[in-house]
């Protein structure tokens, strides 16, 4: 996202926030536009149009399979369908408007769009008559997971496009890598609603509420991953904005811009990378570059959350916090309660807790359960960032770290029966913070360097083993 994008977002958020009538549909229209607007260059030009189209089709499909009959009533949803159809049509008409500063002009011909709508409505109509069942929802969830894994595996993406070239009988071309902007977050929102539908916990959402939840423009690229039942309450009844709320929203937005464009982008040039690891031999410099990377990734990532929270607040929606001073936490468990909070909570709710609950009813030792659940959860969180060995190692690093910390805490608690004096508590927390920050920083080597071998090489250099 650029300054221009964010400037337009801010103006749109202020405008939408001030609307007394039609606010939800205006938000929907702008979010649909943003979905198309932000799509990057693709291997085939037309994919820049069809990917956001497919995103909306998938969202509508999941909604149709999970919404109760009262929420699917046509009179409630036809304005939403009309708005989505209208925005897509306007975007497609850019082939005539030729506003190439806003969006590409090589949009699909109108007959292709009409055909796509026809296919979508035929599939939609067929699904409308299908009984909503947990099994069908599970199949759709599997489909979403399949797309997610494909997108997160660069080797698969490259191979699939080479295969497409061979089918067309042309030599493999050098193209931009295929990417589906925001799918990681959208997929996890959809999976959450599917799972809650299966557990009969999902509230009744209209099409407008559901699409707004899935592609809410401040949060669709980089989170936070809100929960549908919480989001929809404030979408329906926006939180009133007092003067101090405006100030707070502006503060979060400006802090986000500063963190991203001043701090994180400056740190990017002096953060640890493959060249530094190969060419720098001084452990002191490498530690410095590593610490700078740790700061950079925090400022970069949390900046997007600040911006999203600030923009949403202007529209009367309070998004959940995603970061809570993670590097000031005295242990790894608390670090993970403060880093990418909404993603961690998602994995806790839909993987860690159900697995722990299931294993606790079996005759398995507690340390074994903790080992399996923590390692499994962290490996999945690692793979969420990309299906690659380095992300898997990063997950294992944290999974093992959490297990060791858990066992240590258990042992220490039985040994220390009286509360620490304030002075000792301060010292213990300071030591814990130092160890946690260094452990997390070392873990970033697996995250940022392309191979685990390079990360291990960097670690040995950091500890003076050249």
């Amino acid at each position: 996202m650029t300054f221009l994008h964010l400037g337009v977002f801010a103006l749109a958020a202020i405008g939408i926030g001030r609307l007394k009538v039609g606010r939800e549909l205006a938000l929907l229209a702008f979010s649909v536009f943003v979905l198309f607007w932000l799509q990057p260059a693709q291997p085939f030009v037309s994919l820049r149009f069809w990917i956001p189209f497919a995103t909306l089709a998938i969202i509508a499909l999941v909604w149709a399979l999970t919404a109760p009959p009262e929420a699917r009533a046509m009179k409630k949803n036809w304005p939403t369908a009309l708005v989505i159809f209208g925005v897509i049509l306007l975007i497609d008409l850019n082939q005539f408007f030729r506003l190439d500063a806003i969006y590409m002009t090589a949009t699909p011909r109108l007959w292709m769009l009409a055909l796509a709508w026809l296919v979508f409505f035929s599939v939609g109509l067929a699904l409308w008559r299908v009984r909503q069942t947990s099994t069908l929802a599970a199949l759709v969830a599997l489909g979403i997971l399949f797309i997610f894994i494909y997108l997160k595996t660069p080797a698969l993406v490259v191979k699939s496009f080479i295969w497409m070239d061979s089918l067309r009988g042309v030599a493999p071309a050098t193209r931009p890598l295929f990417s589906w902007l925001g799918f990681s977050y959208i997929a996890f929102r959809l999976l959450h609603t599917i799972r809650d539908f299966q557990a009969r916990r999902l509230p009744a959402l209209t099409l407008s509420e559901y699409v707004n939840y899935a592609i809410f423009f401040p949060a669709f690229v980089a989170g936070p991953i809100d929960r549908a039942e919480r989001f929809v309450v404030e979408l329906r009844t926006p939180v009133a904005l007092a003067e101090q709320d405006w100030a707070e929203a502006a503060r979060r937005f400006i802090i986000g811009l500063f963190k991203k464009f001043v701090v994180a982008d400056s740190l990017a040039v002096i953060s640890i990378n493959t060249i530094f690891v190969e060419q720098v031999h001084s452990p002191a410099w490498l530690w410095l570059f590593l610490y700078l990377y740790a700061l950079r990734i925090y400022f970069d990532f949390s900046a997007y959350s600040d911006i999203a929270i600030g923009l949403a607040r202007v529209m009367g929606i309070r998004l959940p916090e995603n970061f809570a001073a993670p590097y000031f936490k005295p242990n790894l468990t608390q670090f993970w309660n403060a880093w990418h909070i909404t993603l961690t909570q998602w994995f806790r709710a839909y993987f860690f807790n159900p697995l722990t609950r299931a294993l606790r009813t079996k005759q398995i030792s507690i340390p074994a359960i903790i080992f399996v659940t923590q390692l499994g959860t962290m490996m999945l969180i690692g793979l969420w960032h990309g299906v690659a060995l380095n992300f898997l190692c990063w997950g294992i690093w944290h999974g093992l770290g959490l297990f060791v910390q858990n066992r240590w805490s258990e042992w220490a608690r039985t040994k220390i029966q009286t509360p620490l004096t304030p002075r000792r508590k301060l010292l213990a927390d300071a030591l814990g913070m130092f160890l946690t920050f260094n452990f997390v920083s070392l873990g970033w080597l697996f995250f940022t360097l392309p191979t685990p071998a390079l990360a291990l090489n960097a670690m040995s250099k950091l500890f003076g083993f050249n």
């Binding site: 806790r348 807790n353 923590q374 258990e410 608690r413 509360p419």
Partner: protein, 83 residues
């Protein structure tokens, strides 16, 4: 069972079984999750204890500081589920 009795039972369970510090007193308003006093594994144990003892189910998606973060909040959740 009154709210005070529920808080007392929960406090005893957390001190003895989770923190392994039977002599420790846990304040009714003391943050449990956000402070790191109870980790995610122990949180599930607490949820299972609540189900067995009070017959109130806490869903997997509710085991976080947004749903409850103190004994008072947890006791109130239990009361609402038992009602």
């Amino acid at each position: 069972m009154t709210t005070e009795e529920i808080i007392s039972t929960l406090s005893k369970q957390i001190a003895e079984k989770i923190l392994k510090q039977p002599g420790r007193a846990i304040g009714a308003e003391e943050p449990l999750i956000s402070s790191g006093l109870i980790d995610s594994f122990s949180l599930m144990d607490l949820a299972l204890f609540v189900e067995d003892t009070f017959g109130a189910r806490i869903e997997d998606t509710e085991l976080n500081a947004n749903t409850f973060d103190s004994l008072t909040q947890l006791a109130s959740l239990i009361q609402s589920r038992r009602a």
